[in-house]
Each structure stands twice: as C-alpha cells, then as structure tokens.
C-alpha cells in the first residue's frame, strides 16, 4: 500500500481524497496555487507544496510542477481528483513514467474514452447502444427518408461541420423531413461553409442516467448502481439522486448488466462512469468518464462503499475482494451542488465566508472545504459544497433534504441554497417527474 499520496487538485474534492487517505493511514501532500494557501485541504495535509500562481494552467494543470512536487516530497502515488488533469492521458502516462502510481485508469483507457467518436465506436463494439444515426452524410431527401425510417422519428438533422446546437432541425415525420432537409443544408452551408448534414434520433425528453463501475483490472468488476443526474442547467448537473425514480427493476438490471459486461471485456481498472440518455425504456450511451465524479457520494451512501478508498486500493494493485452479490443497496440518497453563485442570475460570487454552519444530524453528509473566514477565490469553479442526504425511502430523503437546507448557513457570499430549497418544494421534482430540460424551464419561468 502507498505510504504517501500527492493530491493534484483543490477544494472539496482534494479534501475528500485527503479524508480517504488518512483513514487508510496514508500521508498526504497537498499541492496548491498561491490563491489556495489558506484552503482547508492545504491546512489539513501532512505536507504542502505551492506549485504556481492562481491560473490553473500554471498550477493545477502544470504537469512539471506536480511531478517535481511529488519527487521532492517522496510521494508514491498521485491522485488527480476530477477536472484539471484527471482525464489527461498524457499526464497519467507521465506520472507512471516518473515512477509514481497514477490513481486512476490506464492512460490507454483514458485516451480511448476521451475521444467522443472513438468512445461511441468502442461502446457499439462492446454491445452498448448509442443514439441511432445515419452512417455519414445524407445526399438527398430519398436517402434521408430511408435512413430516418431505420433510425425512427423524430429525427434531428445536424450539420456535419456544426456544433453548439447551430444548424439543427427537428423532423417528426417524412413530410417535415422533406421540407426541413433543404433548409438545414443551406443553413449548414451558410453557417459552416459545408452543406453536409446527417441524421440522428431526436430525444425530446431524455433523462441522464449514469452507472458507477469499479474494476480492478484483474478480472474483478462490479457496478454500484445508477445515478439520475437529469437536473441540469447549461449542461451542468445541479442535483443528483440514486436510485433513479424513473427506472424499474428490469431496466436497472439490463443497463447495469450491460455496463459491467462491456467494461469487463475492456479490462477496465479503476472507478469509471458510463453516461446514458434514457427515454421510453431505451438507453443510449453518450460518454464515459474515466475518473471520480462530483456526485460519487450518493452512491457511497446507498452502497456503503468508499469509492475513493477503492480507487487507491485498486491503484496499489489490490483486487476488489468482493463480487456483485456482496454489494447491497440501502435507501435513497440525494446530492445538492451548492455553488458560490447568485441563485437567480447564476453569476459567480466569490468572497469571504463570514458565517458558516453546516447541517448535521442523521443521514446528512457535507463535503465542503468551507470554513468561517475562508475567502472563496475568484479563479476556479464555483462549487463550494455538496450537501448529501440519505434516507430509508425517497420520501424520508426528501424530508431530510428540506430540513438540512433549512439548517445550512453560508454567510457573506451568495449561494445556490435558495434554488435547492425551491427545487425541494417543486411538485415535479417531488414526483420524480423530470427530464434534462426540466430545470432550465423551472429556472426560466421564474426569471
């Protein structure tokens, strides 16, 4: 087992990793920028090294500085956390080349899943369904109609050279397709200088469902159930829950089974998450994250498995030591991401925390590096805390969430706690009746 782990990250996730290390008797090295000298993870670490100025590219993404810090402190392994260098295959390879263990999957798997096109091809090869689409560009209306019949309506006409949602048209039937195709082509030509378009199944109200996987790279592989992360704003997850209120037992078994088989074939080592869109009983693979996820605590709450601890054990070469049948899920868990942002305009609000009181009591967990007097720096992500609640049932969990939000005091800066309070009282959320577009409407209605 490792004696000393360098944590190449900041904020709550760096603290989360520090906690796992300390519970395993492992010493920690916190690397930090000049802006994070007073951060809680830095104050608690056994050793600290300032590696650069505030800009992340010069500090938290500065590979040479991180490797040097590992060398001068004599660390055995580097945990990249999430974001920054966590999914940088070259970084993972460099860490290993310098004789340190990388706490994460192999560079090869990070690279494979980092390329969205290659990842989808790999998923199809591994037997995982992806959003159906045309093979290459469609030449004319007749070809488009043939493709659309196979794909299934409604279809999305997308510009081959496009991106960012521009030049996309929805067709619900052959008549609409015949009418929209020429428009889409001329728009594509106007926007992107290339009139090529292709078709893809349009999902109007999908949910975002993801499966947590742990593999030891030695044949041991398990899933830790799903997470429903459909409550999103600008493609950022806001609140996550597990189990998903939308899945039935048969669907859950099918999806988790598929994920486990696919990653066993791949020989996957470490923690990973397969993300899917789910609609009308069908699942479509979108991407795989080859790292720890922000929302991992809800899975820990219902499975009783410490995912960070498992990442470290696996990186040290230990086998899982348990199989799927040994894992049982208990109750329901919800996580609220609390950002230093105005809850209506979502403008970031860095500054000094003048009052701090974290909720407690049964079934409440707070993953946060905040403290009274802490100065939230303006240089990084606005996520400052994760409130995680667990209950025997979804209803108990919701009641607990409301009272925990009532208790939480973060003074001096604006936070998204009021948004979560509104959400926790919203009928559609209480009923579990929401899709990936619901939150945007919910927030927009108010504005």
């Amino acid at each position: 087992m490792f004696q000393k782990v360098l944590i190449a990250n900041r904020g709550e996730i760096a603290l989360r990793i520090h906690r796992a290390c300390r519970e395993m008797g492992i010493k920690t090295v916190a690397v930090h920028s000049t802006a994070d000298v007073n951060a809680m993870n830095v104050r608690l670490a056994d050793e600290t090294v300032c590696i650069g100025p505030p800009a992340a590219r010069d500090s938290y993404m500065n590979v040479a500085a991180i490797i040097t810090a590992a060398a001068i402190t004599g660390a055995d392994a580097i945990h990249p956390g999430l974001g920054f260098l966590a999914e940088d295959a070259d970084f993972a390879a460099t860490v290993e080349e310098h004789g340190f263990s990388f706490i994460g999957p192999s560079a090869e798997h990070i690279r494979l899943m980092g390329n969205k096109v290659a990842a989808k091809e790999a998923a199809r090869r591994l037997g995982i369904p992806t959003v159906p689409g045309s093979v290459g560009a469609v030449r004319d209306v007749a070809a488009a109609e043939t493709e659309a019949r196979t794909i299934g309506y409604p279809v999305l006409i997308k510009a081959a050279a496009g991106g960012g949602g521009r030049g996309m048209k929805v067709a619900r039937n052959p008549t609409e397709l015949a009418r929209m195709l020429p428009i889409a082509r001329s728009e594509a030509a106007a926007f992107f200088g290339c009139g090529e378009v292709y078709l893809e199944r349009h999902l109007e109200r999908p949910r975002h469902i993801e499966i947590q996987i742990l593999g030891d790279g030695q044949g041991g592989i398990v899933h830790l159930g799903e997470r429903d992360c459909s409550l999103q704003r600008s493609h950022q997850k806001v609140l996550e829950e597990t189990p998903s209120p939308a899945l039935n037992g048969e669907e859950r078994e099918r999806l988790t089974g598929l994920a486990v088989v696919a990653l066993r074939d791949l020989g996957y080592k470490g923690a990973g998450t397969l993300e899917f869109l789910y609609q009308d009983g069908e699942f479509f693979f979108i991407e795989m994250n080859t790292r720890l996820q922000v929302e991992h605590p809800i899975t820990e709450m219902i499975s009783g498995i410490d995912i960070v601890r498992e990442q470290i054990r696996i990186a040290a070469g230990a086998p899982l030591g348990y199989c799927q049948a040994d894992i049982s899920f208990c109750g329901h868990a919800i996580e609220c991401r609390i950002n230093a942002e105005n809850p209506e305009t979502f403008l970031p609000c860095p500054g000094r925390v003048t009052d701090y009181h974290a909720p407690g009591g049964p079934g409440v967990r707070v993953d946060s590096a905040l403290y009274h007097g802490y100065e939230v720096p303006p240089y990084y992500d606005s996520l400052i805390s994760k409130l995680i609640v667990h209950g025997k049932s979804r209803n108990e969990c919701l009641m607990r969430l409301r009272r925990a939000l009532e208790e939480y005091v973060i003074g001096g800066i604006e936070t998204t706690i009021p948004l979560h309070q509104r959400l926790a009282a919203a009928g559609a959320f209480i009923d579990g009746d929401y899709d990936v577009h619901w939150l945007e409407r919910f927030v927009g209605d108010r504005a």
Binding site: T34, R43, A45, D46, E47, T48, V49, C50, I51, G52, P53, S59, A64, A65, I67, T68, A69, A71, I72, T73, H98
Partner: protein
C-alpha cells in the same frame, strides 16, 4: 511550504525558525526583529541548550518564505517548484556568497524541476544581503531564495 509536519499555528513560529536559521547561517550571536509593536529576539547562548533545540526544529522543516520579505523589491523568488542548488556542479564553489556584489543578470543559483536546470539570475544589481535556502533544498513556487540590497 510544509514538509514532514503540520503548519505551526502562528506565523511567529515560522518567523522564529527563519531567524534561528539565519543566526546559524550568518554566525551572528543575536538577531532582533520588530514589526509594529511585536518584537522577537533570537540570541545565541554560548554552550546553552536553547539554540540547539531551535536549530533542530529549523533543520526538520524547510523554511517557509518569511512574510515580511515577500514584498521586498530585492527578493529573489523561485519561478518554479523544485530543488535549489547554490553551485553549478556538486563540489563547485557557489555562484554567489553572502555580501557579494552582483550585477543584473548574474547567475545566483539553480532550481531544478524535472531534470531541467533553471538558472535564476539577479533581477537587479546590488549586494547579496541574505541567502534564505540551503544547497539542495526543495523550494516551492514563489519561495524567497535570496535578498539583493
């Protein structure tokens, strides 16, 4: 930077370590340091146990950048995290010694990061008033290495 232990709860403790190390390095018998109405005096008691204890503490923990020097215009700071070397090669005489006059651009020391030797040069002319690191000492980004006055 803290290596091999937890940060002292008060900046004073760091300051005392810094001063104690300076006492050893310069061979002085006494240093008095005042900021506002706060005053710290570090004295060498001939043959006493006091200094030995202080020096041992200083040796255990690499020096943090003394807060008072951060804004000093003559402070030479580490541009990267790495290992500082005072001489071009092991066994060679150091680039500079305490009290040496230096010209702008003159090499002062090396900070090695990932086997790359980064030569640190004087950013202004003057005299080497302080050398705050030992040879082969790990230094973090922004650490104050020397003071030119």
């Amino acid at each position: 930077m803290k290596i091999g232990g937890r940060s002292p709860p008060f900046p004073d403790a760091e300051l005392i370590r810094t001063l104690a190390a300076l006492l050893n390095e310069t061979g002085l018998t006494e240093i008095e340091y005042a900021i506002g109405d706060r005053r710290i005096r570090i004295a060498r008691v001939p043959g006493g146990a006091g200094l030995a204890t202080t020096a041992a503490v200083a040796a255990l923990s690499p020096l943090p950048a003394p807060a008072a020097l951060v804004d000093h215009p003559g402070a030479v700071k580490a541009p990267v995290v790495g290992t500082a070397y005072l001489a071009p090669q092991p066994g060679d005489p150091p680039f500079v010694r305490l009290g040496d006059a230096v010209t702008e651009g003159q090499p002062l020391l090396i900070v090695e990061a990932m086997k790359v030797m980064n030569q640190i040069r004087a950013h202004r002319p003057g005299r080497i008033a302080q050398i705050l690191i030992a040879d082969a000492q790990p230094v973090e980004y922004g650490a104050i290495l020397m003071l030119i006055e």
